[in-house]
Amino acid sequence: MRIILFAKRNAKEVLRDPINLFFGLGFPLILLVLLSVINASIPPEAHNTMFSIENLAPGLAMFGTAFMALFAGLLLSKDRTSSFLMRLFASPMTSLDFILGYTLPMLVMALAQAAITLLASCIVGLELTANLLLAIGVTTLTSLLFVGFGLLFGSLLNEKAVSGICGALLTNVAAWLSGVFIPIDLIGGAFKKTAEILPFYHSVQTIRAVLGGNFDEMLPHLIIVLGYTVVIFILAIIVFHHKMSGDNA
């Protein structure tokens, strides 16, 4: 009951901000249109499939969910600095109420965003199959990584710092090292190795494999993403719990 009440409140706080709506839903669609136009202007003899819709759609689906870190982080940070959390910490709410209350609305938003991005991709050439539904689910699952980042940094930092780290830094790192906008295989070397160590590239590969129905290919990538997600979430829960029961709530 408390989880649902708090989750509803958090969803309203995020969705009633038009800037969030633009970045959450509109920005990936704008990129989809722009990059599809660029792809259409690449001559076939160039054999450049980087921006083909089969590669673009999973990348943009992942990139869109990166904004969940910003939404979760800013919301939590604002709640801390405005003392709204202090009010709630003095109530009978438990750690679980807080963690799930912040996480659930982000997952619903990630689900809606993945559905919009992937269905919009069908308009520009992505094949509409049952795998697309699975890809929406898997994108939602991989978005937990970003929600975890948001909860971790929102527990530690003020709004300005969260905007910088979750907004500018994390979304850029996720985009650059995902293989969506930069040809990782072509660059190779340390750049490729870094991309393969971090989870963002694997998120895209997971979604791409599901869209293509290559489930055997999906699993190793998904395991890496979920491994990172578990570690980030555990850290976020430890830090949040420390704030909740500690001296600097």
């Binding site: 408390r2 708090f6 309203k12 405005s82 009010r87 009978p92 001296d247």
Partner: protein
């Protein structure tokens, strides 16, 4: 029965003693003001009593439950209006009130009814559908206190409730707090001494983490040989009158 019994309550941070062996009892329905200069230990004391931070030593029992042993039970009986207005900015006045009512266990119907009562009691009718962030400072303060009262707490902590308000808004809020006297045990911290004189049954003065004096305004002025609370406060806080 006492609402609050505090025994040797202490809080230390890395060698710094914020609250030092506090002993105090507060009766049910009493409005008790806690005074002190910045850093005297008022907010730390309120945070320990409202289970936001754990005491380093001693204990406090609120209506039969210890803050150390049964914090969840204590949390069900209290509510707090923090120094900052602490409202959900993008939620309307009614939504803020219903959220808190729901968190304290009221079902949807009861929460709506309680929110209507609070809106009426705190003169928030005109702005009930406005988002909290669109309210004036005074209205946000009223909403903050209404949010603290909607759970029908037996003990209410008001941490500088009139900070930053103009004279009219402050007087209106005083009237709202005055109306609660006798029904709810209130612990108030403030820097406005006229507020203390207008509202308090008893006053406690803290300095350097210690409770230096407790009594009515008349008792404190008599104890210090002064005619005004401000002079008594300065002496009991370690200053020079």
């Amino acid at each position: 029965m006492n609402a609050i019994t505090i025994t040797n309550l202490s809080k230390k941070y890395d060698g710094l003693t914020a609250v030092d062996n506090l002993n105090l009892t507060i009766g049910q329905g009493e409005l008790f003001s806690l005074l002190g200069v910045n850093g005297a230990g008022k907010t730390t004391t309120i945070k320990m009593l409202s289970c936001l931070i754990k005491p380093t030593g001693g204990n406090a029992v609120l209506l039969g439950d210890s803050v150390k042993e049964h914090p969840q039970a204590v949390k069900g009986k209290i509510n707090i209006s923090p120094q900052e207005t602490a409202v959900a900015a993008n939620l309307s006045v009614t939504e803020n009130l219903e959220l808190i009512a729901g968190i304290y266990g009221q079902d949807s119907k009861s929460a709506t009814k309680s929110a209507d009562e609070m809106v009426s009691q705190f003169g928030l009718d005109r702005v009930r559908k406005k988002k909290a962030k669109q309210l004036s400072g005074g209205m946000q303060r009223r909403l903050s206190i209404a949010m603290a009262l909607i759970s029908n707490p037996q003990i209410l902590f008001l941490d500088e409730p009139t900070l930053g308000l103009d004279v009219l808004a402050r007087r209106e809020l005083w009237a709202s707090i005055e109306a609660l006297k006798g029904k709810v045990t209130i612990i108030l911290t403030t820097h406005y001494l006229e507020e203390v004189e207008a509202l308090s049954d008893r006053v406690g003065i803290m300095a350097n983490g210690k409770l230096t004096a407790v009594g009515t305004v008349a008792e404190l002025t008599k104890q210090t040989g002064t005619s005004k609370l401000e002079d008594a406060f300065v002496i009991l806080s370690g200053g020079t009158a």
